[in-house]
Symmetry: D3
Subunit: 159 residues, 6 copies
């Protein structure tokens, strides 16, 4: 692990130079949770039937957001994404939606931010669809689960 702020040179922000790095296969997986007060959980349980399932809306929002990552995060490199998967599972017992996003690329730098952005935007979309029912919805934790590829190699979250 590098303890410097790699996005800074002489105290100024940069999109860091990756031109000398080889393009290698990169994978990242992230998760996000959305905690629903009971009325929101009930609405989702009842509304989540049939082809208009709200979780599909959030899933697509997550996939599309992965492609917008470098527009949102100022110092992120634009990367040619080769796979984006976003899954949402609603746990009625815990009244929580768990989101898992996985992104792959073959590039000079990793896709952690893309996976985290996909998971975050999917979570925000769940919020949006349920906010008329309950404003007390909370998102979190949003966190990285796994990354592979590049000089720093494979990293797996300890459970």
């Amino acid at each position: 692990m590098d303890e410097r702020l790699t996005h800074f040179e002489d105290g100024k922000p940069r999109m860091v130079d990756v031109s000398e790095k080889p393009a290698t296969l990169r994978v990242a997986r992230a998760e996000a949770f959305v905690h629903l007060p009971e009325p929101a959980a009930r609405a989702l349980a009842e509304g989540g039937v049939g082809k208009g399932d709200p979780l599909v809306v959030a899933q697509l929002a997550g996939i599309m957001a992965a492609k917008k990552t470098s527009e949102l995060i100022p110092l992120c490199h634009p990367l040619p994404l080769r796979r984006v998967r976003v899954d949402l599972d609603f746990d009625r017992e815990r009244n929580a939606v768990r989101i898992e996003a996985e992104v792959k690329t073959k590039a000079e730098t990793g896709v952690e931010m893309e996976a985290l952005t996909a998971a975050s935007v999917a979570a925000l979309t769940v919020y949006d669809m349920l906010k008329a029912v309950a404003k007390g919805i909370e998102i979190g934790p949003v966190r990285l689960l796994y990354k592979s590829g590049g000089k720093s190699g494979t990293w797996v979250r300890e459970s």
Copy 2:
């Protein structure tokens, strides 16, 4: 509170009709937390001096993201934002960055999603700048603090 999924009609997603609603002043405030493992907190404490402060990068990312909300959240209405404020405070004792975003508009619908999106993207940007130091950073909770305006009136998170 309405217990239906207002974004759905006959089980299908919609951008809901707000054409009959009056444009009124709307305010929303949201917060997000970023929890830093010790090495990341130390790097931020040490790097956060001078004009290249990483928190300014995140602050601007949050402001710009508020303007992109309706591109990210599929069923959100595009709204003419009239104020966006994003503040970040780093608490070295708890090793956490607290982000607060406030958005104002005069419109037919509220700006909760804009405030939550600003806070989330600012949090993701903090992650991005510190991820070379520690991948175990966690974001959350992300949640609404306050909203006013519109038919549902004022709502304040209970502490």
Copy 3:
């Protein structure tokens, strides 16, 4: 009907001046058809079950595209959309998907282009999801059905 090219002044393209026009309620509806060769129709009929329905993907793509109209059509005014509805119906007998998009705003100019763009992008998305099965899919006609509001008033397609 005005027989001039209103987007041109002295032979040069303009985003025309609507600053003197009052903001009134505007509605537009458009339709688009996607004609499927038999293998694509069969795949859609079989795949279109359960919550991963391909038509929901196209529906959301259409809604989101309505919001991007002024980015795509060079001389279009950016408008504050207040409702977007996109519906897709698959007619297995004719092997065609019919898309209907409706857009509302309260503005100085109409939303015909928003409705047509929503319908077109929904149609392109249907194509995208079925193109591995059959490249001979055809889109059309794409056309306006109805518009109301503004100086030119209500217009309804003759059937």
Copy 4:
């Protein structure tokens, strides 16, 4: 030809994994037609003189739209386009504008959607410039003419 919906896994939409596929030269060509009622055709014939030619506006809109394809079509991969050509020809006898778009890339997946999107948006732009004259304009068919490259090889529309 593959008869499955390749954008779906276990009934859920995905941006499919192309990380194992080699980057090869890909070409796609698509066409779109815009059918003009007589007043619109006359306006175009008369207005289409000099350097403000409306067809140039549509041509540029098509080229720029090709670059936005992966923002519009939810499950499309972002691709590094290496050539985009859009041509429009107005046939005064048939009162129709024919648009042909050609896109090239060197990538893991094809550019059919980019060519179809370019042709569609150019057609919508023609509509926009002539809609004050005649709302009964119709677009279609929009269809693929040719594609080459990739595992599925060359495909040519039968005439």
Copy 5:
């Protein structure tokens, strides 16, 4: 004139609050110059014939850029533009292209940045089309000519 940095509060950047200001008609005009070395000027003079005129490409780029201003300038408010005009004139004697952009809106804040952005992006597009001929092209000055509307009233550049 206000001598404070209005975009800053307590030393931190903000999108300033315009919610208390009335929406009034706002106009801004800006100009930009592109200075061409002789080979570039000759290529433009010779190429600028017929319907593919390079200046039309720049003109459209300017109009479309006006609509993107609030995406580009971090603290700019998104505004509902009601007119955008961009004109380019090539002065073969001085080997310079003069660009004039005019933007109108009815809003709480002005459109100076929109006019300046339109002029700048049109100038960059002229550069792009001529850069294969001569890299020594220079852009400037880019400056405001006129603004009206709002509390600060009308301002006209002294010549």
Copy 6:
């Protein structure tokens, strides 16, 4: 140097074909100046203290704009940027801000437009932050300093 307008074929604009060109390392550097009337220079000198430095806002705007170049310049190829650096220096004696932008990629075509766009948008952002103090700010010259890579090799501005 090629004296033709390479973006045109048969008098029509194209995104030119770079599919036969090898991807090589490309670097471009550009500069832009912002000339400040005395009140604006004084406000910048006084406001430019502490972590809310206005020049950091402009610096980030420039970095993010580099990533948007192909959306702004109609015939530009989308390129995978590998480094973006934007620096701003305020010369209180000359009351001018000098901006230097450097962009790197490994691609089939160069990044001159990306460097020029980054410098221009950073300059516009300086204008935006100081326009309440003095509208007579002028931008220019904006120009290329250096480029390397590709068939046309290295080019350096003569001073």
